[in-house]
Symmetry: C2
Subunit: 535 residues, 2 copies
C-alpha cells in the first residue's frame, strides 16, 4: 500500500496541467516586463532542472539564491525541490560576513545571483566554497570577477522535459537562515510536507484567501521565509503572478498594481507606509483592483490601517510568523459576530489574530503554566505543527535553546490572548521588563511614548535594579525643534498604565541604535545604561 | 524529532478554542430546534467519548451510526476518531440484508440509531453481532424490542473532559461502504490524514469555499461519504452548522435556509429539483442568503442550473466524487479568463470540473495509454492522492479488481478531458457501448432522448452484436398520452451524433428498472434484451 506523499511536484504539475495559459509577469532590471505562462514556466523549470543536474546538483544538495523577486527566482523555488535538491534563499540585507557564513554553512553547490548584486558577491567570493555561480538577468553574459554562467545562456539549450524523481514528503525542499540579530544566523529547513500544508492553509478563505481569479503581486521578498509561501499557493490555485524585480520602489509597485490589475499582495508595514505616502502624492494612482493586503513582519500601526481603509478602501490584514514557522502562525480577521465600534475594531486589527488551522500553540508563563485568556496575562508563545521547525540546521546547541522538551518551538515573543483567541504580541523575551516578579511590556510603553507629538522615536529598556530586579528606563529621541520634559512624558503615560509600569526615568538621546534589518537594537542601549542605578 | 500528525483532534480543539461561541442548530424529530455552541459541543463530545469508553470501545473499534443529519451525529463524527476509534456511517437506503452484512463485516461494537429508524434495526437484530445499541433523540428512554440505551441518558452523567490519546495520522478515523449496486457492499477506510487534507482542500476558495462567516446547512446525508467532509471543514473554520434532522423535506430545508440565514449547502440534483418545485409553489420563500450551492452525486441537468441561476440568483456548482474518494475529486468553477456565451457556460457547468489540489489523475484507454485532451477521446478515470482509497476493507479480491498495479483507484467512470483540464464523465465502464473498437456513450444518447417531449425516461444499453461486438439499443418510456415512432426518435438524434452512434433500434417499455438508490438498473435490461440480435 503506497502512501501518497505531499510534495511541491503536485503544485508544479497542477499549474502546468490546469493553468497552462495563466500569466506570469516579471519586471526586468531595465524596466521592461517579461511575460509568459505556466506552461512555458513549466518548460523552463524543466530546463533549469536539467542544467542543475549537469552542474552536478544531486539529491539533498543546496542551491543558493541571492536575488530579488523575479520569474527566475520562481523557477528556482520549484526546480531544485522538485528534483530532490533544496533551494536556499539568502537575505540580501545581511552583512557580507553573515552572507558568507550562511553560504558556507548551508554548503551551497550553486549560487544564483541577480546581476545588480554581483558586487556584493565579489566582496565575499574568496570566502565562500561555492562551485558554480549563475548570474540572473535577460542578458546572455555578464562581466564578473569570478567564473560564472548567465542564467538564460545556461538553460537555453536544455530539454524542456525532465524525469522528476519520487520524493519523500519529509525531504527538505527549502532552507533559510534567520536574520541573526544576536549571534550567528541559524538555519531552518522546510520539508515538502510543511510547505505543501502551509500553502494550502494559507490559501483558505479565512487566511490569505487565494483563488484562480487573483492577480498576485509579490512584494514580500522571496529571500524572506519562502515569500510567505505565496508563490507556491498561487501556483497551486493558478493565480496570475507578478514580480516587481530589482527595483521594488513604491512607484513601481503602485504602477504594477494598476497595470496588472492586482487583487492580492503582501508586505511589511514599512512598504505600506511608503505606498501610502506615494499615493498621497499621486492620488490618481489609487489601486483600483485591490480590496485587501496582507501585512506582516511587525504589527501595522493603527493610523496606517485606518488610512488605508478610509482613504483607499483597502483593508490591511495583519499576519504573524517567523522564519522558523514557514512563516504563517496567525492571521487577523475579525470574527463575523463581533460587534465592534471603530476604536475596538482598529485595536483588534493590530493584534496578531487567530492561530491557523493545524497549528498548536501555548502561551506559557515562567513557571510553565499557561496564561489566562484575559488579554492581560503575559507569557511566551510556543508552537508546534506541520510547518513549525523542529530544529536548527546543523546546530544542536541552538536547537536545545529554542525548542522545549515537549516539542514546541520557542518564539521568544511575549504574548497575551483574549477570550476570543486573538493573540497579541506585547514584547520580546529579551526586552520584556521583569519588575518585582511581574512583566512590563516595553513595546506598549514605546508605542505610548511615540504617540506624543514631541517624540520622534522612543524605546524602553529594562535596567538592573537592586530591589525590583529590573525597572523600565525610557530612551527618547525628540523631533527636531520640539521639547518636552521627563515629567511631562511620565504624566502623558500615567492615564494609560498601572503606576508600577511607569518608567523610573527618561533619558534623551540623539538616535536609537538599529540592527542590520532596521529594528531597534536595545542591546546596545542596555549595555550603555547598564549601571544606571549604580551611578 | 517528533513528526506532527494530521488528525481530526486539531479541528475539534480549534472549534472549541477559537469558535466556542459559534452556534450549532439541529432540528429534532418533533420539529423543535436544539441549539448549542462549539464549546458545549466539545463538552458533549467528551461525555460521549467517556460513555463509549465505558461501553468498552477500544482503539480501532468501529462505532456504527444509522442516522439522519443531527448534532448527535456530528458528535459521533468526532468522539470515536478523536479517541482512536472509528466512526462507521451506514446508508439508510440499503436493503436490510446489506445493512446486516455491513454491520457484521465492519464488526461494529456499538450501533447508534435514530429513534424513527428502530423498526429497520429490529428487522435485522438477530442477524447482527453488535454488543450495544444506543437510540438517538431527545427522550431519556425508548421502547425497543432489543436492549438499548438512550443517547441523552447515556452521556448525561459523564465527565465533560477527556484525556485524548496521541493518534497516528495513518490510523483509520472513519469507515463507509459503497452502495453495492453490483455484488456485496465494499468497505472503505478513511484515515485521519486523508480526512484532514480533504477538509482543508474542500474549504479552499476555488473548491467549496468555507469560512467562519458561513452558515452551513447539512443536506448531504451524513451516511454518504463523510457528508463530503463538510462537518469537519465547517468545524475547522468555525462556521455555524445547521442540521435538518429526520425529516429533510423541501419545506423543512427551505425554511431553515431562511430562518438560519444559510449561506452554504450541498446536496444531490434530486434535492435541488425538489427545492426548485417547492420554491415555484412558494415564491415568497426564496432563500435570501444563499448565493451558491454544491451539487454532487450525479451531473445536475442544464435546465436546473439555469433555473436556479436565473430565477433565484443561486449558482449550482457541480462537484464529483465517490465513496472511495472521501469524496471530493473534481469541482466545477469556470476559470476567470474563459469567455463563455450562455450556451457554452451551461454546457461547461454540467461537466465534472477540475481535479482538486493534491490529487493525481489519468484517463486511460483500453490499451493503457492516456486520452488526448480534446474533450472527445474516452477512457476510464483513475485516481490517486492523499484521500483516495488504496484498498477495500478486508477484501483483497475486490481490491485487486478496482486498483491498478501502479496504485490508482479505478473509478469505472468513462470520462473525457478538454484542453482546459475540465473532466466530463460520459458513462460507466459497464454501460459504455463498445462498437467496432470504438466507444459510444450511453449517457449522451439517453440525455438526448430524454430531451424529446414525448419521452419520460430513456436508457441506452449495449447489446451483443455478431459483427460489431456491441450495438446501442434504446429503451424508452413514453410520457402518458404522448406517442412517437422509432423512426422519429432516430431522426431526432441524427443531427447530434455520428451515424455509427445512432441506436440500431428503439424498444418502448413501461418502466425502467431502478436500483436500491434509484439509479437506472441497466443490468436487468441487458439481461432482458440479451439475445436481441439472435431473435
Amino acid at each position: 500500500m503506497m502512501k501518497y506523499p505531499l510534495t511541491l511536484q503536485n503544485f508544479l504539475f497542477r499549474a502546468k496541467e490546469l493553468f497552462g495559459k495563466k500569466e506570469i509577469a516579471s519586471r526586468e532590471a531595465d524596466g521592461s516586463i517579461f511575460r509568459y505562462n505556466y506552461s512555458e514556466f513549466y518548460n523552463r523549470v524543466c530546463k533549469l532542472a536539467n542544467a542543475l543536474e549537469e552542474l552536478g546538483v544531486k539529491r539533498g544538495d543546496r542551491v543558493g539564491t541571492f536575488a530579488w523577486n523575479t520569474h527566475r527566482h520562481l523557477e528556482l523555488y520549484f526546480a531544485p525541490p522538485c528534483m530532490g535538491a533544496v533551494y536556499h534563499t539568502i537575505n540580501l540585507r545581511l552583512f557580507p560576513d553573515q552572507i558568507a557564513y550562511i553560504i558556507n554553512h548551508a554548503d551551497d553547490k550553486v549560487l544564483f545571483i541577480d546581476s545588480d548584486l554581483i558586487p556584493l558577491i565579489e566582496k565575499i567570493r574568496d570566502k565562500i566554497k561555492v562551485e558554480n555561480f549563475v548570474i540572473m538577468g535577460k542578458e546572455k553574459s555578464y562581466d564578473t570577477k569570478f567564473d560564472s554562467y548567465a542564467y538564460e545562456e545556461l538553460i537555453a539549450g536544455k530539454s524542456a522535459s525532465y524525469d522528476w524523481p519520487a520524493i519523500d514528503e519529509w525531504d527538505a525542499a527549502g532552507t533559510a537562515y534567520t536574520s541573526g540579530t544576536t549571534g550567528l544566523p541559524k538555519g531552518v529547513e522546510y520539508t515538502h510536507r510543511g510547505l505543501v500544508l502551509h500553502s494550502i492553509v494559507a490559501a483558505l478563505p479565512d487566511e490569505m484567501g487565494l483563488s484562480e481569479k487573483d492577480n498576485v503581486l509579490h512584494i514580500v521578498p522571496m529571500f524572506h521565509a519562502n515569500a510567505w509561501s505565496i508563490p507556491f499557493a498561487a501556483a497551486m490555485v493558478g493565480a496570475k503572478q507578478v514580480f516587481p524585480g530589482p527595483q521594488p520602489t513604491p512607484e513601481v509597485l503602485v504602477d504594477l498594481m494598476n497595470s496588472e490589475q492586482i487583487t492580492f499582495t503582501a508586505g511589511v508595514p514599512t512598504i505600506w507606509l511608503m505606498v501610502y505616502q506615494y499615493l498621497k502624492q499621486n492620488p490618481d494612482k489609487k489601486p483600483k483592483y485591490l480590496k485587501e493586503v496582507i501585512s506582516g513582519g511587525s504589527a501595522p500601526p493603527v493610523a496606517l490601517i485606518k488610512a488605508f481603509r478610509e482613504e483607499f478602501g483597502i483593508e490591511i490584514i495583519h499576519a504573524y510568523g517567523l522564519t522558523e514557522t514557514t512563516p504563517l502562525v496567525t492571521l487577523n480577521r475579525p470574527k463575523s459576530y463581533l460587534q465592534l465600534d471603530d476604536e475596538s475594531y482598529y485595536e483588534l486589527k493590530t493584534s496578531q489574530g487567530l492561530v491557523a488551522p493545524l497549528l498548536e500553540m501555548k502561551i506559557v508563563k515562567e513557571d510553565g503554566t499557561e496564561v489566562a485568556r484575559d488579554g492581560k496575562e503575559m507569557g511566551e508563545l510556543v508552537l508546534k505543527g506541520p510547518w513549525i521547525a523542529k530544529e536548527y540546521f546543523k546546530d544542536p546547541e541552538k536547537t536545545k535553546e529554542k525548542f522545549t522538551e515537549d516539542g514546541y518551538f520557542r518564539t521568544e515573543d511575549i504574548a497575551v490572548i483574549d477570550e476570543e483567541g486573538y493573540i497579541k504580541i506585547v514584547d520580546r523575551v529579551k526586552d520584556v521588563i521583569k519588575s518585582g516578579g511581574e512583566w512590563i511590556s516595553s513595546v506598549d510603553l514605546e508605542n505610548a511614548l511615540m504617540a506624543h507629538p514631541a517624540v520622534a522615536e522612543a524605546t524602553v529598556i529594562g535596567i538592573e535594579h537592586p530591589k525590583w530586579q529590573e525597572r523600565p528606563l525610557a530612551c527618547v529621541v525628540l523631533r527636531e525643534g520640539e521639547s518636552v520634559t521627563k515629567e511631562e512624558l511620565i504624566e502623558f503615560l500615567r492615564p494609560r498604565f498601572a503606576k508600577w509600569w511607569l518608567p523610573d526615568d527618561v533619558v534623551f538621546i540623539d538616535e536609537i541604535p538599529k540592527t542590520s534589518v532596521g529594528k531597534f537594537d536595545k542591546k546596545v542601549l542596555r549595555d550603555r545604561f547598564k549601571n544606571y542605578y549604580l551611578r
